[in-house]
């Protein structure tokens, strides 16, 4: 449906043909779209089947019965929600990276805004939905700066953070509030300014091994993300170290 971004890819790296394994099923936040395949490749984590979308959407799908072994969320909130609902063991959520929010504009923009307050001068500012981590943190930052009410009529919701990025890349929205790592992957946009880190709760990427038949391999997958090599791959994609 609307999820142009929700792709499932089968990455079968590092597994030998004599050991046919059931692929590990991973549901990952849209902001991890590019780094997860890189991690799987670099750390030989395959075979895995990855599905990307907003963390909130994935959490809903898992609750609705989607068979998933690993959930990689762009904030702690949705991982904690699934723990509370009994989909994973208490204390099993592990943070593996951090992120920052930035405001992006189309690359050729000449008169780019420099503060969140200046966004009010634009026609459309794309953000992820209010329940999506990037959208929730963006709104928290606007609230903190006291400009949320003024900006609300100009905010256009994308189903996930990459959707907000795409609206700017296509020139339909003048700016978007996205993660710093998203800004890096889209050549049609550039960062206008960083959203002050103190304006919003920290953006922490959290992994969760879900209850089911493959909890051990799910745990190994998460351990690999936190290993020195895993951190190096994440750092190369612009992610900060876990807190």
């Amino acid at each position: 449906m609307r999820l142009a971004l929700a792709t499932t890819l089968l990455l079968a790296c590092g597994s030998t043909p004599e050991t046919p394994e059931v692929p590990l099923r991973v549901a990952a936040a849209a902001s991890l779209t590019d780094v997860v395949p890189a991690l799987v490749r670099e750390l030989s984590l395959g075979p895995v089947e990855v599905h990307f979308d907003a963390s909130s959407t994935l959490a809903r799908q898992i609750e609705a019965g989607d068979d998933v072994d690993v959930f990689l969320s762009a904030d702690a909130r949705w991982a904690e929600h699934l723990v509370r609902e009994g989909f994973a063991d208490e204390g099993s959520a592990v943070s593996f990276a951090t992120n920052r929010l930035v405001v992006v504009v189309a690359r050729e923009t000449t008169d780019a805004p420099r503060t969140l307050a200046e966004l009010a001068a634009l026609e459309h500012v794309a953000v992820a939905g209010a329940e999506v981590p990037a959208g929730r943190l963006a709104r928290a930052a606007l609230e903190h700066e006291g400009v949320r009410a003024r900006l609300e009529p100009r905010l256009v919701d994308a189903p996930n953070v990459r959707g907000a990025l795409a609206w700017v890349a296509r020139g339909e929205a003048e700016a978007a509030i996205v993660f710093a790592t998203d800004a890096l992957i889209e050549p049609a946009v550039r960062v206008a300014f960083d959203v002050p880190a103190g304006d919003h709760p920290p953006a922490i990427d959290v992994g969760l091994a879900l209850r089911g038949g493959h909890t051990d391999s799910a745990q190994r997958f998460l351990d690999a993300l936190r290993s020195p090599r895993g951190r190096a791959v994440l750092a190369a994609a612009g992610f900060g170290p876990p807190p």
Binding site: M1, R2, A4, A54, S56, T57, R60, H81, E123, H124, G129, A130, E131, V156, D157, A158, P159, W167, R170, G171, E172, A173
Partner: protein, 221 residues
Amino acid sequence: MDELFVPALLSLLVASLGAILGLPIAIAVGHRLVRTRGVMRVALSSFVLLPLALPPVVTGYLLLLLLGRRGLLGPVLEPLGIRIAFSTTGAVIAGLVVGLPLYIVAARRAFEEVDPALVEVARSLGRTRAQVFREIELPLARRGLAAGAVLAFGRALGEFGATVVLAGDVAGRTRTIPLAVYAALSRPGGEGTALTLALVSVGLSVLALALHELLASARSR
């Protein structure tokens, strides 16, 4: 309450405008199709029916390539102040385009059912083509066109894919019932809203289809 009324009103507005704005197009193309033969007929008919077979998301994307700010017609629309993305205009265009094939098929059938003998007699009495169209064909095709309008209305009511790609999901501007249901389903505790909207949606669709049935059976008598 706004969560229910605004999407419902917006849906009615988008679907009604689709049915009204589509009428001249359905008449023109439907009438043309009756008179066109051979390869041209196949070509024209495949082109106008395309949105029926295409995934709505693809229709939306093609419309974006055509009408978006960086689209083919973007440089024409921009100076006129017409913005498609995030506007009700975009939602109306999406609804109109996905409803058109049904509208055109209904119009073609309506014109096909007009007795050719009547047209010939009128022509032999010295009426021009335009007069024959206005005084004979159009009045006789009236019910069929109305049935087509109801179908196009119903289709626009359910439009999701093309709308979300072309116009985005903006509360109060493009968030029609289907988009509101999807938004409600993707947030915790939204099930109640989703269910109410689903019931409204069922009600409106049943009304539209019943109206279509009435018009269609009245025509066959």
